[in-house]
Amino acid sequence: MEILHNIAQRRLRSTLTIGGIVVGVLALTLTGAMAEHFHAQFEGGDAYFRSNIQVADDAGSYAGVISLSKIDPIQKVPGVAVALPSIGLPARPGSATSVPLGAPDTIAYADPRERDHSRLKAALADGRQLQPNRQGEVVLGHDLANEYGVKVGDRLDLPIRPQNANPDFVNHPFKVVGILKKTNTLPDATASVGLLDAQMLLQESLPASFRDRLDPSSLASRITVYGKPGVDLDMLADRINATVPGVTATRPTDFVNNFDQGARFAAIAVGTALLALLFGAILLINTMVVAVIERQGEIALKMTFGAQPWHIVAEYLLEATIIGLVGGLIGFAAGAGLAALLDLAGRTVNMDVFLITDRLAKITLGLSLALGVGAGMIPSLRAARLDPDRALRAP
């Protein structure tokens, strides 16, 4: 109680000190939430793309299509468990909006047999999975469903018509049959359709000059290859490249290494936020030093009552810790609230970039606690070394 009274007694100073810590913790919470978001996406991407080999046409992903005729020769390469067609194309083609920090909205087809091999599992929140050979159905990722405000049973036209759509832009109605639980990874921004629908949309996405010359039933965006248990996938990718002409198999480690740019950006942002928190720590040290100077008489008085140096250290350390913790709690709450608001505002442009996790809460509040203890250490040791004779004589 005495400590709370002491903090409340110097309102302006306490407010400024706590405010400084709040700002630092708020910044740390926001940048930390961004880092957590990237980390979750990275983990999901890592889990998926490290478990398979992505095979594209020899012209590279620029071509955007690969013939399904490549599946058989790939399947015959020793070590291949299964080679499956995959299709992925932008859900909002030609959109002027760039998505620097999130996963792009994607229309995708994944062979159902992938569920037996892939490490990335996405569970249903509502509805059901796609039924084989049925057209006109879509299963939406969590974020995509939220972005367009649709639920199971609603209709969604795919691809999404951009604002500057060409006169010959075509889209098709799909019935939403399922919505996935949030994974914080790529499936959140995916609209999964059946193979025939995906092939149709893939063909329509190709340049007009040659789209009609291709048989859509022979197309995929890439072939996803899973290896037999114990097979080194990097070496299998090399083997596919050496064995099957006209394809390029990317090593999983090379594929995954390209993901970390966002994580590096988040790390820099977190580092900057820590600087802001350091400012809060300096404010707190200053506040506590001034408090010790102002309360020398009180400290000396307590020494006359038999207070040992550790009593004095404990009291001032506790005061600093409480200030740090209060600033941390307010800063974290404000940061989490601001993150939610920014995500809400950014949802319409697929800018869902903050993820508040238990880990982030523990780290942020733990740092606030450590800040209080660390910043309070020097002033409290100084208080314990006070000369009571001199302090009691002071006017």
Partner: protein, 238 residues
Amino acid sequence: MAAVEVRDLIRKYRQGEDNMVRALDGVTLSIDTGEFVSLVGRSGSGKTTFLHCVGLLLRPTTGQVLIDGVDTTALTDGQRADFRGRRIGFVFRHQSLLPTLTALQNVMLPLRYGPIGTGGKKRARELLDLVGLGDLVNHRPGQLTVAESQRVAIARALIKAPALVVADEPTGEVDNETSDELLFLMQQLNRTSGVTFIIATHDIDVATCMDRVIRLSDGQVGADERLRVERGRRSSIR
């Protein structure tokens, strides 16, 4: 056994780079248990230094301070703090109550330092009753007069039932009438509890209300006079 025994007490302070000042210059005296003693002298005579040495807030440069037979100069800093907390109470000239605590909480404050016991709150209430502030237990210092604050400080000094109370100019900031009241209160507490009181003052009128007057001058004992206060008369025994 004397409550306080001081043997050839010297305390030096450094003033500037080369100058050493002897605030106490070979003080030797003995104070019996239950005595009500005043320590007089003008400013700079060494009163506060003496009280701080006896109160174990200051180590002598040389000499010994024995309290209840214990040679306190041989104790470590931690032992001195513990001894001080258990055996010595303090009253100061300046208002020394913590403004964020009530009168009751201020009286109980010394109990925070030392062995955890029971009954502290009850004793604190009893002491506040004893000093005439039973109705003001929940008042904060801002709501008390200077005299009332000093009464709380006196109660606080007695909360751990010390052997010795050291008071440094406790009536320095009050008027004459209040000064008399506070001295009378301390005298009554001395008589009823048997606690030894050493009260520093520069006011000779205050001093002569005590059982004994020790006069300090330039860090030495100039005079040591035992008085007895009888009803309406003061007489000098020695």
